[in-house]
């Protein structure tokens, strides 16, 4: 019986269907000498840091030996090595406290993703086609060095990154600084910089606050989905659980103010829908700083309700107000944030604090990617602006013009598809990693952790690559660290000079607590609906859409899997004859998307909401060309003073485009527990 038959047999007997999944050429595989440090069958637990969001949860990695198919010195083969098996929260970590969110746990699939880049790649197709051919590291580094040396003006070197990733920010900032390039453009779609700016003004801390929910008796949240997708979710969930049931006889109450029900709204005791962009007025009214009758006019919340909540707030101390998410994605976001800060001051604010953390504000302007226009060389790291930036910012067009683009991405995503060279990074489990938690716990400290397993592919830590590249330049440049390990261990984001990036604190001239109308793109007459994109609980801003576990994770509120959809109020849907799964054309000033509809009871009749995360041009076999990209509808409206994108300020019109085509995949059979209660026998 040759090996192939054996595989088939074992597959049939079910002892290793895993092997069954592999293809034919088993017999060509050779077995490398196993690593000596393995103890077969015995699991070890090693600490690491979750890379998915900026919360920086400490994770506990279960490590065990397994056969891994890999390439060693050009030869494909199987090696027995210690590999990560499962991610759990690190019990001793002040942020995760042993828990971990779905995205964090799925992060392990980044390491083992079948479409992960196994070695450096060079483009061999048209830009954006996503077709590459493998090259060696020496060639790759040499090529990048030569391109850098070829630059006559280093100012033409642009770097696009993602903010709030601990020392990785420092790495690129330092690199840019030392080679004399402009500071990196750090872009994320769902940015909290407005709140940071407001806090800088209100508390002198340009940082997200930490809320001591466990002690709270009353919490009002303005738009912040702090149990789902906003802020330090794991820590906030833990605190919320304790607020609800950890204190005998005391149960904290949560009031959620928002226009579309989030998981946080779902868990709230009271859900208060408001007109988009008017949260600030409600906050002021609750703080007694705005006329309630007027507030009712503006927000659409009944005065009686406002009075009652204000009274409850006053009675049930300690209380705290939270603001974030869509509430701060309007043109009047700074006002809203400041207003909520005012409310918190009125409430005493003993539940609101700031973790010891080096405040950083990312570079911002109304046109963050304007600089790309005259860039000659571009480095991209973990950012995906082609996917996540409004069309009107013309990122795609800019990239097409840039002569040379190098990416450090592990996968071919929408932006990396434009790269000429890919220098794939290790997965976080294979390399030194760190995080500087900004909020979630007052005792949160910057943490770093070493690799928990050897690399399974021929990849390299981006830190080491950059250091090497800097060293190989015609006029070699020294970075502050010898290697990735030093970088991770160094707790020095402060070494980065970001001051020039910070816009001036809000001018003293204008009172930021004055009610200012939100401005929306698109006239109400042509575009009658508010368009509310939101961070998908599974994919966040789309950066985890390539992980199969998350694709198949039913959405908490719609139970949708492998889909993108638009949420419509039942009455509106009825008027337009739209049922679950029916196709709808959503049109903004920026274009039209065709997506299946979900009839969604928790949203106002004049609002439609759509999760961000699907609709990637390129993002592995699991996410490519799946669903539609909500960000592509966004108008380039920004908050005037901070320049952050007002991603909730776009208006759209919708039209029924056809019957269900099966692209909406729901796990749930029914929306209601007793669907026939209304029926007469």
């Amino acid at each position: 019986m040759d090996r192939r038959d054996f595989i088939k047999l074992t597959a049939v007997t079910g002892t290793s269907a895993a092997l069954a999944s592999c293809g034919n050429p088993e017999h060509q595989l050779i077995r490398f000498v196993p690593d000596e440090d393995i103890t077969p069958g015995i699991a070890e637990w090693k600490p690491s840091v979750c890379p998915i969001c900026s919360a920086g949860c400490g994770v506990n990695v279960r490590v065990m030996d397994a056969d891994v198919r890999t390439v060693r010195s050009g030869q494909a083969g199987v090696v027995r090595m210690n590999v990560a098996k499962k991610l759990e929260g690190l019990p001793t970590d002040p942020i995760s406290r042993g828990g971990l969110c779905a995205r964090g746990q799925a992060a392990i699939q980044i390491t083992y993703h079948p479409d992960r880049l196994a070695q450096p790649m060079k483009r061999d197709g048209a830009r954006g086609s996503g077709s590459f051919k493998p090259i060696s590291w020496d060639e790759a580094i040499a090529e990048l060095v030569s391109k850098l040396d070829a630059l006559d003006d280093r100012k033409a070197l642009a770097i696009v990154t993602r903010p709030h990733r601990g020392n990785r920010d420092a790495l690129f900032a330092a690199f840019a600084q030392r080679v004399g390039a402009p500071a990196p453009i750090a872009y994320e779609l769902f940015s909290d910089d407005v709140l940071r700016h407001a806090n800088a003004a209100s508390y002198g801390k340009a940082q997200l606050p930490t809320y001591d929910l466990a002690k709270a008796r009353y919490v009002v949240s303005f738009g912040a989905d702090f149990l789902g997708t906003w802020g330090s979710v794991v820590a906030q969930n833990a605190a919320f659980g304790d607020m609800r049931q950890a204190r005998p006889g005391v149960r904290g109450k949560l009031v959620q103010v928002e226009s579309r029900m989030t998981t946080t709204g779902a868990s709230a005791d009271e859900w208060v829908p408001v007109k988009p962009g008017t949260e600030g007025v409600l906050a002021l009214a609750l703080a007694g700083k705005h006329d309630i009758a007027d507030a009712e006019k503006i927000t659409g919340v009944p005065a009686k309700k406002i009075e009652r909540i204000a009274k409850e707030l006053a009675d049930q101390k300690p209380a705290v107000a939270i603001v974030g998410g869509p509430a701060l994605a309007h043109t009047n976001a700074l006002f809203t944030a400041t207003a909520v800060n005012e409310l918190n001051k009125a409430l005493g604010g003993e539940l609101l604090g700031f973790a010891s953390h080096n405040a950083q504000l990312s570079t911002l302007s109304a046109q963050p990617f304007a600089a790309l226009a005259d860039a000659k060389l571009l480095l991209v790291d973990e950012a995906n602006p082609v996917y996540g930036a409004p069309k009107a910012w013309k990122v795609r067009e800019a990239l097409e013009k840039i002569p040379y683009i190098a990416s450090f991405s592990r996968f071919v995503d929408d932006t990396t598809a434009y790269a000429d060279l890919i220098l794939p990074d290790h997965s976080f489990l294979e390399s030194w990693t760190d995080a500087a938690p900004e909020s979630g716990s007052l005792d949160a400290k910057p943490i770093s952790a070493g690799p928990v397993m050897k690399p399974i592919h021929d990849t390299r830590a981006t830190a080491d690559v950059l250091i090497a590249v800097a060293g190989k330049l015609k006029t070699p440049v020294e970075l502050p660290w010898k290697n990735g390990e030093e970088l991770a261990k160094s707790s020095q984001p402060s070494t980065v000079d970001r001051r020039q990036a910070n816009p001036a604190p809000p001018s003293a001239g204008r009172q930021p607590t004055e009610w200012t109308d939100p401005h929306f793109d698109g006239a109400a007459s042509d575009y009658p609906m508010h368009f509310l994109p939101y961070a998908s609980p599974a994919f966040g801003d789309g950066s985890t859409a390539h992980l199969p576990w998350l694709q198949e994770l039913p959405d908490p509120l719609t139970s949708a899997m492998w889909s993108s959809w638009i949420e419509i109020n039942p009455k509106t849907a009825e008027q337009m004859g739209i049922a679950d799964g029916d196709l709808v054309d959503v049109t903004s000033s920026q274009g039209t998307l065709r997506v299946p509809a979900v009839v969604f009871p928790g949203i106002a009749p004049d609002i439609v909401a759509m999760p961000v995360g699907q609709g990637h041009e390129h993002y592995t076999r699991y996410a490519s060309k799946r669903g539609a990209n909500a960000a592509s509808l966004l108008a380039p409206v920004t908050e005037p003073e901070t320049g952050t994108l007002a991603w909730a300020a776009t208006r759209v019109k919708i039209a029924r485009a056809g019957d269900a085509d099966g692209s909406l995949i729901l796990f749930a059979g029914e929306k209601y527990e007793k669907p026939h209660d209304h029926e007469t026998r």
Binding site: A668, G669, K674, H676
Partner: protein, 451 residues
Amino acid sequence: MSHVSHERLTADLLRPLEQTSWRFYLLVAFLGSIVAMGLGTWMYQMYMGFGMTGINMPVYWAFYITNFVFWIGISHAGTLISAILRLVNAGWRRPVTRCAEVITAFALMIGAMFPIIHLGRPWLFFWLMPYPSQRLIWPNFRSPLVWDFFAISTYLTGSLLFLFLPMIPDFALIRDRATGIRRRIYGVLALGWRGTTKQWHRLETAMQIMAIAIIPVAVSVHTIVSFDFSMAPVPMWHSTMFGPYFVAGAIFSGIAGLIIAMASLRKFLHLEAYLHPVHFENLGKLLLMMSMLWAYFIFAERLTTWFGNDTGEMNVFYVTQRGSFSPLYWTMVVCNLVIPFTILALRWLRTIAGCVVASFSVCIGMWLERFLIVVPSLSHKYLTYSWGHYRPQPVEIMITIATFAAMTLLYTLFSKFVPIISIWELKAGDHPSAALYPAPMHEHKLGETHA
């Protein structure tokens, strides 16, 4: 029957065995190919994986189980009816019994295949049998599926013997008339039957005992099939009336099947002289009665559910009565009650043709009934979040079609090699002068049904 001489009778009934027309080969080839396709489809399903079907979470049973119940139901025509008719010694049974019992034998074989076809790992079906299989563990006698195994195997054994015993004297008859290899074969089948008075007595006593034994078995079989459902706490399944409900339904569809079979025999084998309109008349009345009985049962079921207003059951009630299953549901009502009732209640419509139309409608209706028992309940169990849908897939449809072809094929072949009407019983049916034989021998003569 007395109008036909014994010679002509023998000749008529043996004609199909002695001469074969090209139509027969054509029919066999046609049906055979469909059956082959069905088997091929099953192999394909096993090779590709059970996912080829439309089964899903939570609708884990659908077409195959529907077919299972349907065919077991059809099987209730033959043996049960002929046993009853034998016990009451109804004279008009004589030409009917065998073609009825054959239906039982074949329908049972086909039906019994479905529990195997629907298995996730059919290659391990024999673990259902009572022997210490995997890790020396015997089957779980608490499981209705194991009851099924015992009930069906008992019923099949009984039915086959019940069918075979009265064939022995006819085999002997053929043996004596035939030559060469046929003589040898039928000789073996005849088990050396001579026809001594002793043998006749033993045979008839045996048939009496079998008849008495087979009736409760037949009832038990479909009751146990119904237990497959009623033992599970599934809305609209967990019901004490399922036993009688299923038995009644089985006899209902069984009679329909029998009428169709007899009509086609009468037509294609030219048995007009033996299968008289009055046979269909009588069976038609029986069918009418069962149709009303069925209506009574479904009404009882619906009313109890509706009045009881239990949430779980009402969910299923609504989806069948008004929801996505309602078209099928009302089709079922029309096929099982409206059509057969109108046709069979009116004497001038209760012709052979009328009975056949009614029977076809009943077969469709009863298949739907089983489908509507299995699927809506499963797709609408208690937790509404876990509700689901079911769409049959090609493999299931193909295999279902193939079973009907298989039934027809087996029946055709049988009537080719065995006289489909019991020759000796027919002969024994007509007696010389009434004066001769003792009173208890009086039997209900054909034609006296309404003189």
